[in-house]
């Protein structure tokens, strides 16, 4: 499995191809459409992260030492960004996730998507992803 850093570098490279915001947005929208939907059983109140504008559902599982995330949103642009976040963080070790950053979102020119004023739930989602990782990490060490 590629490291978080490698995946983020790939994404940056991928977005380098686009010169215009419109192409970028179209790509994000495409990613949003292809995001594997969260299992219906997890699309419930307790997995919801409420933004003022759009909302996000996030679920995490621990499998073979890695965290597996699935997520969804009611807004397609938000979903596209989620697809990127899931791609970088999912299937990684908890300690790696806890220490990773999301600077790549800035670097692909979508900084405003993770801004607190957007109120789209994404910032809280990143926080929640890390909290899950942290929880799995401590569970894991306790078990050992």
């Amino acid at each position: 499995m590629a490291s978080i850093q490698d995946i983020q570098n790939d994404i940056i490279e991928e977005f380098d191809m686009f010169e215009e915001w419109m192409e970028k947005y179209e790509h994000i929208i495409e990613l949003g459409k292809t995001l594997p939907l969260i299992d219906a059983q997890y699309k419930k109140e307790e997995h919801i992260i409420k933004g003022c504008q759009s909302q996000v559902w996030l679920h995490a599982e621990f499998q073979n030492g890695n965290v597996i995330y699935t997520a969804d949103s009611d807004a397609i642009m938000t979903k596209g960004i989620i697809a990127l976040l899931v791609r970088t963080f999912s299937n990684q070790q908890p300690s790696k996730i806890v220490n990773a950053n999301t600077d790549f979102i800035d670097q692909i020119g979508l900084k405003e998507q993770l801004s607190p004023t957007r109120a789209n739930g994404l910032l809280s989602m990143v926080k929640q992803m890390k909290l899950y990782a942290l929880a799995f990490q401590s569970k894991n060490t306790n078990a050992c």
């Binding site: 947005y25 929208i29 003022c52 504008q53 759009s54 909302q55 009611d74 807004a75 397609i76 789209n120």
Partner: protein, 404 residues
């Protein structure tokens, strides 16, 4: 005929590019841009008159006090209130409503009722919920029909001798519905209830006569009517303002203070604790004078034609769903495109230099009633043109093709 180009030219903020496109500003329901005259008034106040009001014996303090009080008189005339002490300066509508809702805690008892409507802004819901929680009074809700008009039968049925106060907006910010407030005021008075009108969205578009309406309270917000942010006004009938206790304690609002007893100042100062937004107050007058120079009748006429045009143009778009189609509407067009998320549309419009509001517009119960996550809302001001509308229509088409 109004010369819109000339009016538009007075708004510096409108003349800029956003993401490489000339700005189209259609978020006036949230706040309007400010004409140069208002910007100048703020600057002039600080450059020439700045001083604390109602306190100093010195020259500047007198100047500032006079300017601030002139604004109060201007608002009194503008709303046709009987007395200038019936005008209380506030931060805006939110503070005005909180002031009244807080005061009503001394009036309300267990079993009393307050009536609000489904189509209120959160600021005309939450303060009443808090007052109900504190007193054991009950909140009753006027439902709306599928067009976003209030169900008046239901309203009349809710009124009873238990009703102590009715709080409704004059025009809904989420849907643009103009409520039949005269009928509502009269009906509330029939059962002996007071009534508060949230005029946030009405004051920029309509002329208001509080005596003719016979409203007990009427709130306006400066920033939605070309004045600065952080200044608004509460009109209250003298008898009510005398009856309810002060909202905040502090300087300015007292007559005498000792540790045994403090007596409160007369109206309006009883409700104006602390140093207010003096510059905002002064510039509020400038904005109202500016509005009156154009004439609210002219404004209403022009905007209503533009709203008509916007509705027609937008409905050309396949999948356009107008949210809120009450017979009487002003200022606002709220819509969806098929089931596309308003947030997605708004983000693409932003990239095209078009400012609209997306989301629930602080009116979640309305969106819940329509079973939608929110709407795209274009809200008009006097400086908007058909060109703005055309750009919006093009932008929405573009967003639709990108998102579908």
């Amino acid at each position: 005929m109004l010369n819109i180009a000339k009016i538009r030219a007075q708004f510096p903020a409108l003349h800029q590019e956003v993401h490489g496109h000339p700005l189209v500003y259609l978020d006036n329901g949230a706040t309007t841009q400010k004409p140069q005259a208002v910007i100048d008034a703020i600057q002039q106040y600080y450059a020439e008159q700045n001083s604390n009001i109602h306190r100093g014996v010195h020259y500047l303090s007198q100047l500032a006090t006079d300017a601030y009080e002139a604004s109060r008189t201007c608002i009194q005339k503008h709303l046709n209130a009987q007395h200038s002490h019936e005008i209380i300066f506030t931060r805006g509508i939110t503070e005005a409503i909180n002031l009244v809702a807080h005061g009503f805690r001394s009036v309300l008892k267990i079993g009393d009722e307050i009536i609000v409507s489904t189509i209120e802004h959160h600021s005309n819901i939450v303060p009443w919920q808090m007052a109900c929680d504190a007193t054991g009074a009950k909140l009753q809700i006027i439902p709306m029909d599928e067009n976003g008009a209030l169900k008046m039968d239901a309203f009349h049925a809710l009124l009873s001798e238990k009703t102590k106060l009715v709080a409704v907006n004059h025009i809904s910010n989420a849907l643009g519905t103009i409520n039949p407030i005269k009928e509502m005021i009269d009906a509330a008075h029939q059962v002996g209830a007071a009534i508060l009108i949230d005029g946030a969205q009405a004051a920029p578009h309509l002329s208001i006569d509080v005596q003719e309406l016979d409203a007990d309270f009427y709130c306006i917000s400066g920033h939605k009517m070309y004045a600065p942010t952080g200044i608004g006004a509460l009109y209250g009938k003298e008898k009510w303002l005398n009856k309810i206790p002060p909202y905040q304690g502090g300087g300015e609002m007292i007559a005498t203070v000792s540790f045994e007893e403090t007596t409160y100042a007369d109206l309006p100062h009883k409700f104006e604790a602390g140093t207010p937004n003096i510059a905002g107050g002064v510039a509020f007058k400038t904005a109202i004078d500016w509005l009156n120079e154009i004439g609210l009748e002219n404004i209403a006429q022009y905007e209503s034609k533009l709203l008509q045009y916007a509705s027609e143009r937008l409905s050309e778009i396949d999948g356009f769903r107008l949210i809120g189609n009450a017979p009487q509407k002003a200022g606002v067009i709220s819509f969806m495109i098929n089931d596309l998320h308003p947030y997605d549309i708004g983000m693409i419009l932003d990239k095209l230099g078009i400012a609209v509001r997306t989301g629930h517009h602080c009116a979640q119960p309305v969106m819940d009633a329509f079973c939608i996550p929110g709407t795209v809302r274009a809200s008009l001001a006097i400086y908007n043109t058909k060109d703005d509308v055309d750009r919006l229509v093009e932008g929405v088409k573009k967003a639709k093709s990108m998102l579908s």
